[in-house]
């Protein structure tokens, strides 16, 4: 083989290899997103199932702020913003406030099991998704997820503690991307996805007892 042909072959390889590498990494991104999407759906469904239980078999955390798993090495301000997610939902002066009996012992047990299942999938998932983080690129080297639930009928001023409410359990995840960010295909360095499951008439919000559906 003449030297010129060999040079052309090497040049061709040098041109093709980056494209192959990009394809492989793009495949990794897509598989990762798919994996987290399926798992988010599984977690939301399991948490919805647990919501039907009057007394889930789990420890009762002292407050919702128990559910914080920071990324190793992250700044304290970021960890604080993770705590703020729960603080805002349990502080009457905040617009995100859900009502005093919203996170009852039963709800805390359900979330404890839900977050435990999430951690069993991967201990590298950080939670919850912190509020208003300035430097998103530093934060989103890892997947961040939040498990929470909403009750459509509820307003902080009109909670009926003995009403049998339906809960919509949702799992929101921010999945970091490699190639799509490098190629500038996405506005953010991560992709947002939310999966939910509906727990029909899954009990009241009475702090001392929970009524479950018949």
């Amino acid at each position: 083989m003449p030297g010129s042909q060999s040079g052309v072959s090497i040049l061709g390889l040098a041109i093709v290899l980056p494209f192959v590498l990009l394809l492989v990494l793009a495949g990794y991104d897509l598989l990762h997103v798919y994996q987290v999407r399926v798992f988010a759906q599984e977690v939301s469904l399991l948490t919805a199932k647990l919501s039907h239980s009057a007394s889930p078999d789990a420890d009762i955390p002292s407050s919702a702020e128990f559910f914080v798993n920071p990324t190793p090495g992250e700044e304290e301000s970021v960890t604080q913003r993770r705590r703020d997610y729960w603080v805002e939902r349990t502080s009457p002066e905040n617009e995100e406030y859900r009502g005093v009996p919203y996170y009852t012992d039963k709800e805390l047990q359900v979330l404890n099991l839900g977050y435990g299942y999430l951690s069993s999938f991967s201990s590298k998932i950080s939670f919850p998704i912190p509020n208003r983080v300035v430097d998103e690129r530093r934060l989103y080297k890892r997947t961040n997820c939040t498990i929470d639930f909403t009750i459509k009928e509820i307003l902080a001023a009109s909670i009926e503690t003995n009403h049998n409410y339906s809960r919509l359990v949702y799992v929101e995840c921010h999945v970091p991307l490699l190639v799509f960010e490098i190629l500038n295909f996405v506005e953010k360095p991560y992709i947002e996805l939310t999966q939910s499951a509906f727990a029909f008439e899954s009990g009241d919000l009475n702090p001392s007892s929970s009524v479950v559906a018949p």
Partner: protein, 233 residues
């Protein structure tokens, strides 16, 4: 120096390679989309299982028997309203307009004394076709799907009938084969007495949806059956 023939072969190989890569990518994408739709079907089925679970039989105080609810009976819940509640839940939870559901409520006839299925079951109840929108392409073959859900119900009911009658031994101490919902189980002196509800409801439904993306179009259909929780032992 390459000849024209050699260059042509290289281009041809490149084209074949690209087409193969494209085919693999499309194949993987199709598998992903179909498996995702299947997962969504299972989620909806589980939500329905956890959902409206009102009783579908009632106690006739005049004749002292349990009866299947009928729209003509005075009762807070009829089979129609029971299924309508499930349909409402399905409509509120379907991920998109391509989803449709076919649903039917069937009963096993139970011997009240033994709990054994007494009659070879043949599905006869109304089948409801619940379309979620005009784009629910897979619901357009209504009669065919109706037959499919009846056949599915018949096969599952037959399994229950066979299991019950094969395993029932007649021994008082044995629970094998007794599939009915128990009303009571007491000892009167040395004698054990059981009583079962004479109807055992099973809800059968079929969910279908359409994967409709560029170059990928496929119908995804799954069958499900649930026993209303109130009848589970």
């Amino acid at each position: 120096m390459r000849t024209d023939n050699e260059e042509g072969i290289i281009y041809l190989e490149l084209m074949i390679g690209l087409i193969l890569v494209l085919a693999v990518v499309l194949g993987v994408a199709q598998l992903y989309l179909i498996s995702w739709h299947r997962l969504q079907h299972e989620v909806i089925a589980t939500e329905i299982l956890m959902g409206p679970q009102e009783g579908s039989i009632y106690f006739d105080e005049v004749n002292n028997t349990f009866k299947k609810l009928d729209s003509s009976e005075r009762s807070p819940v009829t089979p129609d309203s029971y299924l309508a509640q499930m349909a409402k839940l399905f409509r509120s939870r379907k991920p998109d307009e391509s989803y449709a559901m076919i649903i039917g409520l069937e009963y096993l006839l139970i011997d009240p004394e033994t709990g054994v299925v007494v009659e070879n079951p043949s599905p006869e109840s109304s089948v409801y076709i619940i379309e979620s929108g005009l784009e629910a392409r897979c619901s357009s073959d209504g009669p065919e799907l109706e037959n499919t859900i009846r056949n599915f119900a018949a096969s599952k009911l037959q399994v229950a009938y066979d299991y019950s009658n094969t395993n029932y031994s007649g021994q008082v101490s044995s629970d094998a084969g007794r599939v009915g919902s128990k009303l009571y189980d007491v000892y009167i002196g040395e004698q054990r007495v059981r009583k079962y509800i004479n109807l055992f409801p099973v809800v059968f439904f079929r969910i279908c949806s359409t994967v409709d993306q560029k170059f990928i179009r496929s119908d995804v259909t799954t069958n499900h059956f649930i026993i209303p929780r109130i009848h589970l032992k």
